[in-house]
Amino acid sequence: MRGQQLLPTLTAEEIAEIEEEINHLPDRKSAAIDALMIVQKHRGWVSDESLGAISRLLAMSVEELDGVATFYNLVFRQPVGRHVVMVCDSVSCYVMGADDLAKEVQSQLGVRFGETTPDKRFTLLPIVCLGACDKAPAMMIDEDLIENVSSDRLQSIFGAYA
């Protein structure tokens, strides 16, 4: 049997944050989504190695945890760029021109939805309604909501994310 130290591990900080969530839940497994999001916050995405480490910490099978991870669109099981750009494609933004905006975003970043720029700066994803319907079209870059987006603003918007 392999020694415990050879297994990929989580950092002390990640473990502390996950344990804090577990403290407020009836059992360890219930923290699965919180744990995935915590590790993703620190590492950008959830690798197979991270998944294994989290499953051991939560005392659940890696398969069950992957079933959870792959259900949720905000859990990234593939590497993403330094910044994640999410463009709303739901109905209010659609009415306000989201289709044209989506084309322009893809053209300016030089990638299609689901792809990452070669310099690993941006990953482009579609997203459902961001709750900014009165300021449509809307998009989100990392944790920043950007409202009333127009094609002519895109260059300066992206410029703020190195």
Binding site: I33, L74, D89, V91, S92, V95, C133, L145
Partner: protein, 431 residues
């Protein structure tokens, strides 16, 4: 009437100049008085009775009477849960984000009272993952309330204790469905559960659980503080209270307004949203989010309340309406809606998993000039089977079909002309 008596949800925000209301400002507007009254001076059943009498109905879309729901919680020993549904993902809906961002203590206070009423010791706010600003402001409010002793052990010196936590969601529209939300809260895949048992009897971790929408809970403090009669008189029609209404689309002033329940559609569009932009003509509205049936011209003088909109064949839903003007193709808009619902199906039931992508495909064909004779019958047949609530576990597919069936009814000539001419006339105009 003071601003807060007229606008119990947003009055305090307006009073302090449309800034987020944190502890000092909240206390300055009678903040936490209602929670103190309830926790230190009322019996839990008295609180439930008041909310029932006030006729507060769930603001998440279903409109179920809140006090009645609370009354379903059995009187048993052990842990009970209160869960706030802050997973606002209904396309076109942005009211809960406003409430959490601008009046987070109102939600915390509402949750204290609701938890006391059902004697829950644990409460969670299930917040959608993309709501980062709301999460930070709510976290600050929870911290401030804990520091004051309004949360935690022995609230207001009583025997009642409450632990309130935020759960940030990993995404997916289906998690807004009450039982899918509970699975997600438990760290599982967000798939709906079979009912019965209903959550008040067996919910989170198999314990009695009440799930209430953000806006619903925000209504509770003023009912306790200002009374049932005052609350019932706020509404213009038989439904009580105020409502956060929203309008999005090509209007001059899209936004949110707290108005008396039952405010007419036309007043919302013309007065509050400033009318249509650049001479666009309004053709149809989705009154309460993407999963509600279209209403058209003949309905625009109706009151936005649960009863009236239901009688017109739709649902008030979240009360945040999406406007379709004459520059928008109803076929392409339907395709956009069905793309959303097909993508967001959890995949458990066949009609939803297989039927919605099929519907989306047929709509895409019609929109892109590949429509065939008989396509509308295919859509109607699918609508009938997919939309039958007896054929699926939850109401996701049923909701998806609502805007489709009504689009086929009210905008049929658009669908037919696409098929007949093999093109979308809106596209040539646009480009």
């Amino acid at each position: 009437m003071s601003l807060q008596e007229r606008l119990p949800l947003s009055g305090r925000v307006e009073e302090i100049g449309n800034r987020p209301v944190f502890m000092t400002d909240y206390l300055g507007g009678a903040g936490y008085e209602a929670a103190r009254i309830a926790v230190t001076g009322m019996d839990p059943n008295e609180v439930i009775a008041k909310v029932k009498e006030a006729n507060l109905r769930g603001r998440g879309g279903a409109g179920f009477p809140t006090g009645v729901k609370w009354g379903f919680v059995p009187d048993v020993e052990g842990v009970k849960y209160l869960v706030c549904n802050g997973d606002e993902m209904e396309p076109g809906t942005f009211k809960d984000r406003y409430l959490i961002e601008y009046n987070p203590h109102l939600l915390v206070e509402g949750m204290i009272i609701a938890a006391f009423a059902i004697q829950a010791q644990k409460a969670y706010v299930f917040l959608r993952g993309e709501y980062h600003v709301p999460r930070r402001r709510l976290a600050r409010a929870i911290e401030e309330a804990s520091a004051k002793g309004f949360l935690g052990e022995r609230i207001f010196g009583s025997d009642f204790s409450l632990d309130l936590r935020i759960h940030s969601s990993g995404g997916r529209y289906i998690c807004g469905e009450e039982t899918a939300l509970l699975n997600a809260l438990e760290g599982k895949r967000g798939q709906p559960r079979t009912r019965p048992p209903f959550p008040p009897a067996s919910g989170a971790w198999g314990r009695p659980t009440i799930v209430n929408n953000v806006e619903t809970l925000c209504n509770v403090p003023s009912i306790i503080r200002l009374g049932v009669d005052w609350y019932r008189n706020l509404g213009l029609t038989s439904d009580s209270g105020t409502k956060i209404y929203g309008v999005s689309g090509k209007v001059n002033n899209p936004g949110l307004w707290e108005l008396p329940m039952g405010t007419p559609i036309r007043e919302l569009v013309e007065e509050h949203a400033g009318g249509m932009r650049n001479g666009h003509k309004l053709r149809g509205i989705l009154p309460g989010g993407a999963s509600t049936d279209f209403l058209v011209e003949e309905h625009f003088d109706l009151s936005m309340d649960y009863e009236t909109i239901q009688a017109a064949g739709s649902r008030m839903g979240t009360g945040t309406m999406i406007l379709m003007d004459d520059s928008i193709c109803p076929v392409d808009l339907s395709r956009n809606l069905q793309h959303f619902f097909a993508q967001e199906s959890c995949g458990f039931c066949t009609p939803c998993r297989e039927g919605l992508p099929w519907v989306e495909g047929v709509l895409a064909d019609i929109e892109e000039g590949r429509g065939q004779e008989g396509d509308l019958d295919v859509l109607a047949l699918n609508a009938e089977y997919i939309g039958d609530p007896g054929n699926t576990f939850c109401l996701h597919a049923t909701g998806a079909i609502e805007p489709l069936q009504s689009a086929l009814k009210y905008f049929r000539e658009d669908f037919e002309s696409h098929i007949r001419t093999g093109k979308c006339s809106y596209r040539t105009e646009a480009s």
